[in-house]
């Protein structure tokens, strides 16, 4: 059996929840990663709705990706760019 490319320790991959269902009384979901959909256990992030992103590790969702926090680094980058321009004025 080939080793799936994402079968690496501690790697968490963001994927989009397509639909949720229950199996053996555990909350599960089909989650899309690029073009591939996989079965993922959603038991520890039960608040997640279809369309939202979760961070998945070995078939298990560890956390919900926070959209507002995800954009924060880009605001930080804009600040840095402005700072950079102040410190190094263009010739």
């Amino acid at each position: 059996m080939p080793v799936p490319p994402d079968n690496t320790m501690c790697l968490g991959i963001p994927g989009r929840v397509l639909e949720t269902y229950r199996e053996h009384d555990v909350l599960m979901a089909r989650v899309q990663f690029g073009g591939v959909a996989k079965r993922v256990c959603l038991e520890h992030v039960p608040e997640v709705q279809p369309g939202e992103f979760v961070l998945v590790h070995v078939g298990f969702a560890l956390s919900r990706i926070d959209e507002a926090e995800a954009a924060r680094v880009f605001a930080f980058l804009r600040e840095l760019n402005q700072l950079g321009e102040l410190e190094d004025p263009p010739p």
Partner: protein, 382 residues
């Protein structure tokens, strides 16, 4: 937004690299704790984009690498049994033990299967009621919720043919041991982002305070790591310690409380030996007595055979951040990912395997992978 490509943008990386170069006025040594972070750093050549006074050292955060030899031998002994179907994550199969590796054993006919998730091993046990299905449960805190869930589910589903060989490790005791070592060089840490999705950031606060170090919880994409490095350098320059969490899109301060509760229900803290490093008190997890029926070590009563590691291998010093892979005379010669001599060459997250995968054993100067060449232009412009 897919939360991947956006964090690999070149011009944003360029901005962060320039900011790091402006910020660093003195020499600083920063350790990235996690093997996945090491992989990204070497893949994108991030260490080489940094100014010369900012050095990254690669931490022991690769659970495959640090799983002790005795445990590999126990896995080998259990997987050899005719009545056992042994399940493991793929990267454990090539880890060398005293009696060879699991892949070799599989080629000799043992029933060894690679699973994507521990929950797949539970389903396999349900579908093979006449086989004893054993899952090799290794990992850091990131992997402990899915592994705990496997034991919990197996009990709930009354699967008495499922068990786990557990060798879990914990990050904070390892960081403490590293900072206590007399030869420690590390002044700041990029904290393990995915471990913190589970455990949160609180347990790092006493470490930051006791050793006066900054710990900046970082993600795994190039921009995450560059931002983490910039924030760590800023802290060091301003002589600030403490914990920062720029990876807040995935990490809440309290982690995932449901996961922490389940881990506590299934596992308990124990002392653990780390391959290449030695025993670290309170640095492991094992199954609680309540889950003893699922403990493969009790069920199969296997003894590990301790043998000495290859004399040429310096992986112990690499895991402690004292040496780099290219300092080893065997690196890329006798020791390659196809025939690894030691822990750090085995898994894709090991520092030696990452250096090898991105061609650093072939280099004479600063030329490397295509990713490096592309990002390397940024370094020239700074």
């Amino acid at each position: 937004m897919k939360y991947v490509d956006e964090y690999r943008d070149q011009s944003s990386a360029e901005t962060l690299v320039a900011a790091i170069a402006r910020a660093a006025t003195r020499p600083w040594t920063i350790m990235e704790v996690c093997g996945g972070q090491t992989h990204t750093i070497v893949k994108y050549g991030i260490d080489r984009l940094l100014p010369e006074n900012v050095e990254l050292v690669h931490g022991p955060g690769c659970p495959v690498c640090v799983t002790p030899l005795e445990t590999i031998d126990k896995a080998h002994a259990i997987a050899s049994r005719a009545d056992v179907t042994f399940c493991s994550f793929g990267d454990m199969l090539r880890v060398p033990g005293s009696r060879g590796d699991l892949l070799e054993l599989k080629s000799q006919g043992a029933d060894i299967r690679v699973v994507y998730s521990p929950l797949d091993a539970v389903n396999l046990a349900a579908s093979l009621p006449h086989r004893k299905v054993v899952f090799f449960a290794i990992g850091f805190e990131t992997t402990s919720p899915p592994n705990a869930m496997a034991a919990w589910l197996a009990r709930k589903r009354d699967l008495n043919n499922f068990s786990m060989l557990v060798s879990h490790v914990l990050v904070p005791p390892m960081m403490t041991a590293m900072l206590e070592a007399p030869d420690n060089r590390v002044q700041g840490f990029l904290g393990p982002g995915h471990v913190c999705t589970v455990m949160g950031i609180r347990e790092y606060e006493p470490i930051a305070e006791r050793f006066s170090v900054p710990i900046v919880v970082s993600g795994f994409e190039p921009l995450d790591l560059l931002e983490g490095i910039l924030r760590t350098v800023n802290c060091l320059e301003e002589e600030r310690s403490g914990v920062e969490n720029p990876y807040a899109r995935a990490v809440r301060p309290d982690g995932n409380p449901a996961s922490r509760k389940l881990i506590d229900e299934v596992f308990e803290v124990c002392d653990r030996k780390w391959r290449g490093i030695g025993e670290i008190p309170g640095s492991g997890l094992r199954l609680r007595d309540d889950y003893r029926d699922f403990d493969a070590e009790r069920i199969f009563e296997v003894e590990g055979i301790a043998m000495s590691e290859s004399a040429a291998c310096i992986s112990g010093q690499i895991l402690k951040g004292l040496k780099k892979p290219h300092h080893c005379p065997a690196f890329g010669k006798e020791c390659t990912p196809d025939s690894p001599l030691g822990a750090t060459m085995v898994s894709t997250e090991g520092a030696c395997a990452a250096y090898f995968a991105y061609g650093r054993h072939l280099e004479t100067k600063r030329t490397a992978s295509p990713e490096y060449v592309e990002l390397g232009r940024i370094a020239c412009k700074v």
